[in-house]
Amino acid sequence: MSTTTTRGVAQPAPAKVSKARPRRGLGASSTFNFWLFTGPFLIGLVIFVFVPIGWSIWLSFFEARFTVTPSEFVGLDNYKQVLTDTNFRNSLVTFTVFAAFIVPATWAMSLGLALLVNRLRFMRAFFRSVFFLPTAVSYVAAALIWKMSIFNGVRFGLANTFLGWFGIDNIAWLANPDPPWYWLVIVTVRLWLQSGFYMILFIAALQNIPRELYEAASIDGAKPGWQTFRHITLPQLRATSTAVILLLLVAAYQAFDEFFNLLGKATWGQPPLVELYKMALGQNQNYGAGSAGAVVLTLLICVVTLFQGKIMGFGRGEESK
């Protein structure tokens, strides 16, 4: 029973549609009902998603400082300005470095926690909750704890206190880009916030691995531990791993909160959305260049999400194996 319903989820719509159509009386009113149900959503979608995107594309071809109804057409100048802007290009470098750290780190951490929790017999729910709890905390609150308490540059910060016990001098974690300690702050805060969430995905996937595989492996003489992990667990988690990595990548691309709050006043470590914020809503209020930047970033992310859709398959949740 449960199998048939979950499999039904993966089915595309058309089959259901054609099946339901012949019913008499309802067919005539079904068009009305369709719009009754979907109308409010679709109207909102047009006004608040499609119109802004269109407007933005239009704005990106105009000189639009401090106004959203500009008159001076400037062609591709805004795009030229954005693409030659060193800050904007640096922000893409920042994203790349950030993704190179945070994606593998979160993947490994969440998988590791899932493996630990999944093997526990006592207090399993307790530990799962402990690792999952940070999911409830906002990026702003976490950034505040990190900046004001753990990685405070003065002696009373937890990290510097800890180093002090070993006679090591204070480190200005965020205030000095050389050496770039700020990456440690930025990466750990996100690691703490989101590992528990991806751990839940991995636990769900681990519990779907058929037990017979492990039994067969032990009959074949495989030692439990690294061998079974490498040859059974990891391959069985491939679909989930792929999904997690892509989700992490898209999330890293949209990073704003912790960068804005930890490095808001700095000139280093500025990711794309923070640059965009400064461009469009900073002192210049340059909506033309801001829109061009948004269009560029949107096109870049579309490439990733299209790729993602292709791999995960829309409607085929990664846990469906």
Binding site: T3, T5, V9, A13, K16, R21, G27, S29, S30, T31, N33, F34, L36, F37, P40, F41, L42, L45, I47, V49, P52, S56, V68, L116, R119, L120, R121, V130, F131, F132, L133, A136, V137, S138, A141, L144, I145, M148, I150, F156, L158, F197, N208, P210, Y214, P224, Y253, F260, N261, L273, Y277, L281, Y287, T298, I301, L306, F314, G315, E318, K321
Partner: protein, 293 residues
Amino acid sequence: MTTTAPDVRKTAEPVKAKRGGVIGNTGLYIATGVAGLLFLIPFYLIVRNALMTDPEITGEEWKWLPTSIQWGNFSEPFDDVTVDFARALWNSVVVAVLHTSGILLICSLAGYGLARIPYKHANKVFYAVLATLMVPTAVTFVPSFVLVSSLGWVDSYRGLIIPGLFSGFTCFLFRQYFLGFPKELEEAARVDGLGYWGAYWRIVVPNSLNFFAAIATITFINGWNAFLWPLVIGQDPSAWTVQVALSSYMTNQTVNYHLIFMATAISILPLIFVFLFLQRWLVQGIAQTGIKG
């Protein structure tokens, strides 16, 4: 393989632990315990700093616990004149509650319509919804701001709430869920003379409360914790949500550590409650849908 998976789930869980032996088990619990402690440090720091005096926090010697617990710190964020914390808290309550109920209502109806009501162009409509999934809302905050500011909705609840209600992704999740909803139930209801509308409210919704609870929990947490959009819309402090208020503490000239951490603690508290009581649905929702925000 697909057919065996559900039966396995119940039996497979703690098999491996049995084999580890006493040493293996001790090692497992030590590793998990250490990781758990590390994960709890930030929570400990919030509570510690919120209940200390500033000289204790900034003193030469590290203190693990306050000498005497400063319960009086609790009222300080509310007495502070530089940031209207009570207002920010109230704004967050309004925004998160209306955000959640609005999304649930609008997106579930649309998801049901797309999943179950036959219509010639339903597929085209569905693809238009799917297309919006390619563009994360965070990336389009400039266009959205342009629209909202020309509607005159800056610094208002309307501006904070309404643009976020039309989530293609939530609609998509509801559609997928309703595709798997047992058809027989609704058909019986419709034979009894309830239309689509009646069947939806009397039969479908009451039988889907688990799924609604899962989506509601995730949506509420995201609504409460949202920062970028409230920052963009809340130009005037009277329209700040609690996240924007917290952010402003970090850039203030004078830093009142105990006050800031008490404010942080208060801002997290509602979510901890939501989290503890609704964790079951949250976990279920995440495992089912693979998402949060």
